[in-house]
C-alpha cells in the first residue's frame, strides 16, 4: 500500500456514504413509490368562502372590510390612511382601486434600498395578495415584481386588498392549484394574523417584529 495517495473525501460524500451504508442503499437507487399526496378539499360553496375568511381573520385580531367594487375601496380606507406615511406595492389591482393616486402613498419601487428605507419609515404597508385562505384567514403572498416582501413586514400596519375571486378554501386547495410554488417565486409567504409573541409568561403580545395590526379589504366585484 506504500505510495498510495490518501483519497480526500468531501463532507458531502462522507455524509451520503454513511447514509447509504447504514440504510443498505446504493448511489442512484430510486425510492419505493410513495402514495399520492393527501389533499383534503371540501366540496363547499365558494360563496361561503368570504364569510368564512372574515370569521377566521377577525378571530385572529384582523379587521375585515367588504367593498362592493373597486370604487368603494378608497372611501373605506380614507380614515385609516389620513395623515399616514403609506407604501403600496406594485400590484395592478391597487392602482385600479386608486390607492396609488393618493398623495401620502409611495409606490412603484423597483430599487431594493429605496424600498427598504421607505418601508422602514412608513406607518402602513398596502399590498394585494395572490390568494386568501378562508379556513384559516390567511393571505398568500408570492414575491414578484408586483409584490415585494418587506411591504407586508416592516410597517406596523398591513392592509391587503384582495378581489373576492382569489379566495380559496384552505392550505390544501392552495397546494393543489400551486403544487410547486418554487417554480413561480423565490418566496411564498402565508400570513395568518398579526405578528405575535407569547415568549414572556405566555402572555399574548401583538406586533413584535412584523405588523401588529392587519386589515383585509375584500372587493366583491372586480
Amino acid at each position: 500500500m506504500v505510495g498510495r495517495e490518501v483519497q480526500q473525501v468531501t463532507p458531502r460524500e462522507a455524509i451520503l456514504g454513511k447514509i447509504r451504508t447504514e440504510l443498505g442503499r446504493a448511489a442512484g437507487q430510486h425510492p419505493a413509490p410513495l402514495a399520492a399526496p393527501a389533499l383534503r378539499i371540501p366540496l363547499s360553496d365558494r360563496n361561503l368562502y368570504k364569510d368564512l375568511f372574515v370569521q377566521s381573520f377577525e378571530k385572529l385580531g384582523g379587521k375585515a372590510i367588504i367593498a362592493r367594487n373597486t370604487s368603494y375601496v378608497l372611501p373605506a380606507l380614507s380614515t385609516l390612511l389620513e395623515g399616514k406615511r403609506v407604501v403600496a406595492s406594485n400590484a395592478p389591482f391597487l392602482r385600479s382601486c386608486g390607492i396609488t393616486d393618493l398623495p401620502q402613498v409611495q409606490s412603484g419601487f423597483t430599487d431594493r434600498e429605496l424600498l427598504r428605507e421607505a418601508c422602514a419609515a412608513a406607518d402602513i404597508g398596502i399590498t394585494s395578495a395572490d390568494y386568501a385562505l378562508a379556513a384559516t384567514g390567511t393571505f398568500v403572498m408570492l414575491a414578484s415584481p408586483r409584490e415585494a416582501r418587506l411591504i407586508s413586514l416592516l410597517p406596523p400596519t398591513h392592509i391587503a386588498v384582495i378581489p373576492r375571486s382569489r379566495m380559496l378554501a384552505s392550505l390544501d386547495e392552495l397546494l393543489s392549484i400551486l403544487p410547486k410554488p418554487a417554480e413561480q417565486t423565490s418566496s411564498m409567504v402565508l400570513i395568518t394574523g398579526p405578528s405575535r409573541t407569547a415568549d414572556i409568561e405566555q402572555i399574548l403580545v401583538r406586533g413584535v417584529h412584523g405588523p401588529g395590526e392587519i386589515h383585509a379589504v375584500i372587493v366583491e366585484e372586480s
Binding site: K18, F109, L190
Partner: protein, 459 residues
Amino acid sequence: MATIKETVADPRLQLAIYSATQRLIDHRAGAVGFKVFPEYQDLRTLAHDIKKHTIEHLDYYLEQLEANVVAHGGQVIFCEDAEQVTDFVLNLAKQRNARLIVKSKSMTTEEIHFNERLEHHQLEAVETDLGEYILQLAHQRPYHIVAPALHLTRYDVADIFTKSLGVKKEVVIEEQTKIARSVLRDKFLQADIGVTGANFLVADSGAVVVVENEGNARLSSSAPKIHIAVAGIEKLIPRAQDLAVFLNLLGRSATGQPLTVYTSFLSGPRREGEVDGPDEFYLILLDNGRTKLLADPDKRQSLYCIRCGACLNHCPVYRKIGGHNYPWVYSGPIGAIITPQFHGVSKDPWLPFASSLCGACAEVCPVKIEIPKLLLKLRAEVVEAKQREGAGGLERLAFRMFSWMMTHPRVYLMLACIGSALAPITPKIGPLRKWTSQRSLPPLASTSFHKWWAERSSK
C-alpha cells in the same frame, strides 16, 4: 442554572413550568379534537408514513433537494459537524466583509453553539426571536423547544434588560416587547447576513420552509443580502404538497394554531424582477451525528421529529424538572431518546430511565414516534454497556439475592416480618427518604397475606 433538586424545591419555577405547559396543553387540545379537526388521527399516520419513507431513502431525497436548490440559484453545503459550519460561515463573512448576523430561532444552531463560535471570531450574531434574545442576553440555553424562555417571569426579563441594555426597569410585558422590537429593528436593517433554521426541507422544490409567529424569521431571510439556512439532514419531506399534512399538524401540536402567523416557503435568492430579498442563498445541511441514528429501524424514528414540543408539555418528568436539567439542548421525552443516540448511552446513562413510561408523549406525538418503546430499547443498551464495562455488579448481586429470597419461603417470611415491623420508619430513613421526599408511600397492610391466609385456613 437550577439543579433538579433546586427546580423541584422552587415554587415560583414549578408554577412557571406547570402553568406554561398547561396552557400549551390546553391550546393543543382545543385544536386537535375530533369536532374541530376530524382528520387529525389520519394525518398523524400519514405524517409517520411520509417521514418513514423519506428517512429510508434519505440519500435520494437529499440529492434531489440539492439539485433543486442549485437550479434556483442557491448553494448547498454539507457539513459533518459544528466546525465545518463555522468554517463556512466565517469564510463567507470574510469574503463579503460581513460583521453582523441576525438569527431566527433554530434548535440546530443551538446544537452546535453557533453564536459562541462566531463571537470568538469577532462576528456579532444576534438572536431575534424574543425568547431567544432574552436568553442570549442572560447567557442561558433554551428551556423548551418552542417556548425557550418559559421559565422566566417579566421581573426576570426586566432585570436582564436593565443589566444588558442599560434601560430603566420595565415590568410591563408589552413595553418589554417594544424595547426588544426597537433594538432588533436596527439590527435587522444593518445586518449583512441573515441566518434561519428550517422546519422542513422540500426535496421536489429545493425549498426551505420556516414557520414562526413574530416575523423575525421573515426579516432574517429577506432584509439582509445573504440568507443562510441551517438544517439537520432529517428535515426533508419529498413534495411541497406534503406540507398539507405537516403544516396542519405542526402548529396545532405546538401552540394550538391551525397555521402559525407566518409560513415562509423559500427557494433560492431573489429572482429577476423581484424587488427585494437576498442576493445569495445558502443551505447548510448538517449531520452532527444524525447518521448514527439510521442503523436501527426502530430508533431511526427519532429522526421523524418535527420539534413541536408537545411531548415536553405532556411529560410528567419535564413538568417537574424543567428543561435545563436535561444534558443537551433537546429536553423532555424527545431529548431523552435522541441525546443518548447522539452522544452514546454511556455519557448520561440515567437519561432513558428518567421517565415513568406513562406513554403521554407517544399519544400526542404528531408523527407517532414510539417514544416509550425507544426508551426501553435505550435502557437495555445502557445495561448492556454497563455489563461490558464490568460495572453494575452491585445491581446483579442485588437481583441474585432477591431471587434467592423469593425461592426460599422461610427466608422470605422472616424478612417480611422484619420489613413490616420496620414499615412505619423506613420511608423516613436510608435510600427511601429521597423517594418519599416528593411522594407519599401507600401504607402497608397491618397483617401480611401469609398470616391472614394461615389464620383463615385454621378456622
